[in-house]
Symmetry: C2
Subunit: 319 residues, 2 copies
């Protein structure tokens, strides 16, 4: 009996870009499409863009869509980067495309991707920490995505590391995100320069016509042996090490995956110092080496690949 | 067919006292025995004391022990309060008593007790925080005790709330335990008095021949409207509120149980302000009221009752 070919499209809808990838039943990527996200547009229009992107990706893979069978629900409660609130993304996209659609938070999907196909393969208890503009996270427990009682679990960036510390984007004070995200690093670099420290960071940004300190700018400044950048990075790694240890002391996972642009580009140069600080802060030193702290492996595809894995499971498609 | 009577003895072996309670198949307490723990004695002697205590409790309940069937393993890796390291408590006690024995960390057992029979009945996802000399914690996930990959999960007191903050008993800096335990409160009260603040706390301690600021002394000082005590308590509640929020942002549990002497004595007067701060620090305000923050209900019996519940499950006794 011939098995029907199973094709799944994973979409990662970020604040800056929209990525769709098509995989076959072995999770081999058949095609990737990427376009910039048009911000602040009407949800209806963006949903149509997503549908078009999916169609394009399927076509790039040389495939034709099957006819609709059923659709799953997927409500976006809030996507501040897009200006969305309570958008029925799943049902609408499903109606447009005529196939089942599953919607998941991008960081959770990224953690599922790294667990199923990346740096966390084979472990049962995993925590993912993604350091970018903010700090996102997700938890795998007993081999499955752990979402908590309201679907709100995994907000590692909003664990407080410094009571009454610097103001966070969320409005509170001292969150990990306010101390160790790329945004926090940029704030510290700018503050040091304002106080008279010599740094090439702002020059590189100007040269590249960038308004924000992206991870490639961080890497460039480190290659130039920029001392301000190096100092700020060391402090960030220290904060992240303590954050990892706090999570380990609470949850004792087998593996902590560190993702995001800086981790991807610097790999062990970034993760090594985080691991070193974390181990110092573990309460139980017994079998400390058993807890793996490793860089993510799937890069920008993590979210879309994780969505594929979740879709396969939740939509009860046969593997 | 008559069901065989099932009797389980729960023992809570603390640094200051040894408690044994006997329950029937409906978890009704038939007898409680309590004696002070003799510190720094040889593990062999203490194990014999425990065995004698169990015998006494069973006798107090008017029962006779059944003959041995089987025994379960139970190794104590480290019990610093008792000066123990790698003691084969389970097998030894089992040999002495001739019945199956299960050994579990006291805080984990306390959380299981509160979940099964106390403040957390009926929820699937629960976090317990016990504030005493230190801060202990435990996690219930999907209705079961969550122990992590090395059995080290739940160390909520060693999540860092203040990077480079005050030195903790564990040797690191800024742990919740170093900021919000009863030990930390006493340190702050003494510091305030040293700086000239007026407080009756030391007088109450002297009057009661206590060297440490126990929770009953805290309650007494609050009744006297001691301003130093009130200020230190408010700050402690603030730290604990932020700690609870950090855990909620990470794990999104249904219920957080606050235990320990201060919580038991002050109840809502202590838990109310913790809840208020915690809610401010939740990242997701959606359904915030769904997360219950409540005082523990089982008092000093929580650990021994939790041990009974675990024993029933793990030793595969029919309920």
């Amino acid at each position: 009996m011939a098995r029907r070919k199973e094709i799944i499209v994973g979409v990662d809808m970020g604040g800056t870009s929209l990525r769709a990838l098509v995989v076959n039943e072995e999770n081999r990527i058949l095609a990737v499409e990427k376009t910039p996200t048009k911000r602040d547009q009407d949800p209806e229009n963006l949903i149509e863009d997503i549908a078009a992107e999916v169609e394009d990706a399927v076509e790039s893979a040389g495939l034709r869509r099957n006819e609709a069978v059923d659709s799953s629900s997927g409500l976006v409660h809030a996507a501040p980067n897009l200006g969305w609130k309570d958008v029925r993304l799943g049902p609408k996209l499903s109606a447009l495309l005529g196939v089942p659609v599953l919607v998941e938070n991008d960081v959770n999907a990224g953690v599922v991707g790294e667990h199923a196909l990346g740096a966390g393969r084979g472990v049962q208890e995993l925590v993912g920490i993604f350091v970018g503009t903010g700090i996102g996270g997700g938890i795998i427990s007993r081999g499955e995505l752990y979402e908590g009682c309201r679907g709100a679990a995994g907000e590692i960036g909003h664990m407080v590391l410094e009571v009454d510390g610097p103001r966070c984007g969320c409005g509170k004070r001292g969150c990990a995100e306010a101390l160790a995200s790329r945004t926090a690093m940029e704030r510290e670099v700018r503050a040091a320069i304002k106080e008279g420290a010599k740094s090439c960071v702002l020059d590189i940004m100007k040269e590249r016509h960038k308004e924000r300190m992206t991870s490639s700018i961080i890497v460039r400044a480190l290659k130039n042996k920029d001392r301000v950048m190096r100092g700020v990075l060391r402090r960030t790694e220290y904060y992240l090490g303590i954050l990892v240890a706090s999570v380990v002391n609470l949850m004792d996972p087998e593996c902590v995956v560190i993702g995001g642009g800086v981790a991807e580009r610097l790999q062990e140069e970034f993760v090594g110092p985080i691991r070193k600080t974390a181990r110092k802060y573990y309460l139980s030193q017994r079998d400390a080496a058993r807890i793996k702290i490793v860089p993510a492996q799937l890069g920008d595809n993590a979210g879309a690949l994780g969505a594929v894995v979740l879709a396969r499971k939740r939509l009860h498609l046969a593997r």
